[in-house]
């Protein structure tokens, strides 16, 4: 019998949830697990290593999405604005050019538009829904790293450090990386779900994109069918993350962020996230009390 079976968290038993998550972490062989939860119905927060820094991987794209919508809010950009699709970016380390390899990118639609233009709204969609790295770098080039970080700072969000575009290997080798904490991402999603990201309409626009997410093997995977999820995953060799907003049936949503770190050869990484997400779901909804 596993420890998970021995002790499952009952409603609002934070200690039991913590123990269960730690047990899941040990069983999975992860090097680190961090969880941050915010319940918009009760206002309750939960954290397991919520302030531990991780390489952001693709979860940084939620912050870039905020930066893009900030540009909409300022009138500097419009969703229908056209952007030249070009696969050439300057490294944050030394300015030398680098490219996003098409075979490493999850999305081919953006690569197929090289030389032409795409609308900002289309790029934002691809950046989140299919995690296109090319779309991400195009948008970050347009909005600017500093502008994205400034937007986070304006909202008082700590725990998200935007330093560069994705697939910037030279910057990676020199330790220039995007970093996040579970609490940082949780604060960002909370801002969005509460409609405080610029305007309720713009917040809703960001949520719509997150709801269209195609990568569902993390937070949503083990939730009941009636639960809707707006999320963004992130995975590189030693990292697997998922950050999302969960809408259980007949109740207000909650924010959950699960960040994990692994040895490069470790498998079943999203499985830990899915199990941690289910534990949080049971904790929030009191599913086991029924």
């Amino acid at each position: 019998m596993t420890s998970q079976a021995l002790e499952r968290p009952s409603r609002r038993d934070a200690g039991a949830l913590r123990r269960q998550l730690e047990s899941l972490e040990r069983e999975a062989g992860a090097n680190a697990l961090a969880v941050s939860v915010y319940d918009t119905e009760s206002g309750e927060e939960f954290g397991l290593q919520p302030d531990r820094w991780f390489h952001a991987a693709s979860t940084i794209k939620v912050a870039i999405l905020l930066g893009v919508f900030g540009a909409f809010h300022r009138g500097a950009l419009f969703p229908q604005s056209r952007v030249h699709v070009r696969n050439r970016f300057a490294s944050a380390f030394n300015g030398q050019s680098f490219r996003v390899e098409s075979d490493r990118d999850a999305n081919s639609a953006v690569h197929e538009s090289i030389g032409k233009t795409m609308r900002v709204a289309e790029l934002a969609h691809h950046m989140i829904v299919t995690s296109s790295n090319l779309a991400t770098n195009l948008l970050l080039d347009l909005v600017g790293v500093e502008a994205v970080q400034r937007t986070l700072d304006q909202f008082g969000i700590e725990g998200i450090d935007v330093r560069r575009g994705v697939e910037d290997e030279r910057a990676f080798e020199h330790g220039i990386n995007n970093r996040v904490t579970a609490r940082g991402l949780s604060s960002l999603l909370r801002l969005i779900v509460e409609g405080r990201a610029f305007t309720p309409e713009l917040s809703e626009g960001m949520l719509d994109i997150l709801h269209a997410q195609e990568f569902r093997s993390g937070i949503p995977a083990q939730l009941p069918k009636g639960a809707r999820v707006a999320n963004k995953t992130g995975e590189i060799s030693t990292i697997a993350h998922d950050a999302g907003v969960v809408y259980p049936p007949d109740r207000r949503p909650y924010v959950v962020v699960v960040l994990t770190e692994w040895d490069p050869e470790a498998g079943r990484r999203m499985s830990l996230i899915a199990r941690a997400s289910r534990a949080v779901y049971d904790y929030i909804t009191g599913e086991d009390d029924a």
Partner: protein
């Protein structure tokens, strides 16, 4: 299918100095830009006026090039120039003829990148006296099925361009300043075209020097 105009003769030639101020400020007609060696280069004064995107699509400059290919810019173009009517220096016809000759030589389609034809002096990608501001430069990102994103492809077609177009300038391959590695930049220099039907006025020294 709409009728296709066979030449820009259907487009009005306008004096950029007579356009409304916000457009004039973005085009800087007859103004000067400094090249990389600090030399002043005078910008074009006369432009074709393009009433709508459909007009750009339907205006055929040469058998294989249409006007829209030279004016496809993105959000980095100056805001007054993102809306129609738009303006392109009259030398765009000369560039089209040069590219047609290149197209004949390679025997397949030549694709100009977005932001790779005419760009105004206020375009965010304009640095110094870029020949894109004269509508005499093209960034070619694809020829036939070949994307020009390798040294081999870029240098192959650069050699063909030099051979086919006497006096053409191509940007060297590379990832450093002044180099390119994802397209072939060809330009025919700081050419200014004044069509015979271009408007004008009697010579007036003050008007000429006042622009400097």
């Amino acid at each position: 299918m709409p009728d296709v105009a066979t030449a820009p003769s259907l487009l009005r030639v306008v004096d950029g100095r007579r356009l409304e101020k916000r457009v004039r400020d973005a085009l800087n007609p007859g103004g000067y830009l400094m090249d990389e060696n600090g030399r002043a280069r005078q910008l074009p004064r006369f432009f074709y006026e393009i009433p709508t995107w459909e007009d750009a699509v339907n205006t055929q400059l040469t058998p294989n090039f249409h006007l829209w290919e030279f004016v496809q810019t993105d959000v980095r173009e100056a805001p007054p120039l993102r809306a129609f009517p738009r303006y392109v220096p009259c030398a765009v016809t000369l560039l089209a003829f040069a590219l047609e000759r290149l197209r004949d030589r390679v025997g397949t389609t030549v694709h100009i990148a977005a932001n790779g034809g005419y760009r105004s002096p206020r375009h965010a990608l304009t640095h110094g006296a870029s020949t894109h501001c004269w509508a005499t430069a093209a960034n070619i990102y694809r020829i036939g099925d070949t994307y020009l994103d390798t040294r081999e492809a870029i240098e192959k077609y650069a050699a063909i361009a030099r051979d086919a177009l006497p006096g053409v300038w191509v940007q060297p391959y590379g990832g450093g300043p002044g180099e390119v590695d994802d397209h072939l930049h060809v330009d025919v220099g700081y050419v200014v075209s004044t069509p015979r039907e271009a408007p004008g006025e009697p010579f007036h020294p003050k008007l000429e020097w006042g622009a400097i």
